[in-house]
Subunit: 113 residues, 2 copies
DNA sequence: CCTATAGTTAGGTATTTACCTAACTATAGG
DNA sequence: CCTATAGTTAGGTAAATACCTAACTATAGG
């Protein structure tokens, strides 16, 4: 297990992989769909004008990023989102916002002098 | 101007580009730095063990994504973050969270029956 | 005017990504 | 048992990415 995975904890992955996964519109469509509830691979594939193996490749990336989990029962694989990976991304962004606010405050202090 | 850019409004860019930009650790380091205040290209380059032209390439991507703005005065280009691009990404994520909560509520209703 | 500094452009390479088709495996259900 | 369905694997291509070096432009400041 690499350092990034260890740092992110419990099945999550690095921010690199999470943001990378979200950078593609097909993958975001999959995530959007899964936020409304679990779905099988072919359900996910249906609205995406793309061959099945390509969808699978996207799913692999989504799993690697930790955004999606899946389990196979019988011949159907059921996929669901894992909200903690999404949390990670959101937290990174909100920390940036905090940093910006602090910078803004320092600027105010500076202007008062 | 393409449809994605039009849709995102005022100098922002598509979510594709924003998430793509955030997927690279060097680019996130640049964003983190700029959240603490504006900086020149060489200031941004200094902590990144990488040749200047590579840094410039990252900056171009960051500008294309709308995350960073820059202007040149004299021979120094000053870069600053543009928070609206970050907002876009954050809003996409929080809409996903809302969708998940709605799905969860529907599940509760279902279980009550 | 000259030189050091700040950034830029051109162009090249190795790797990764996003797709595809074809062929395969495994299980549900008649 | 046989066939249709659900997913998987293998393998190939075109384009994008992340770097690099070398060479260039433009401006600050003595």
């Amino acid at each position: 297990m690499n350092a990034a995975v260890v740092a992110s904890g419990q099945g999550g992955a690095s921010l690199d992989l999470v943001f990378q996964a979200l950078a593609d519109p097909s993958r975001r469509a999959i995530v959007e769909r899964l936020c409304r509830g679990p779905a099988s691979v072919s359900e996910l594939a249906q609205p995406l004008e793309m061959a099945l193996p390509s969808v699978l490749q996207h799913l692999q990336l989504l799993e690697a990023s930790g955004l999606v989990r899946s389990a196979k029962t019988g011949r159907v694989r059921t996929c669901r989102i894992n909200s903690t990976a999404l949390d990670q991304a959101e937290r990174w962004i909100s920390r940036r916002r905090s940093a910006m606010e602090r910078a803004f405050d320092r600027l105010g202090d500076f202007l008062k002098e």
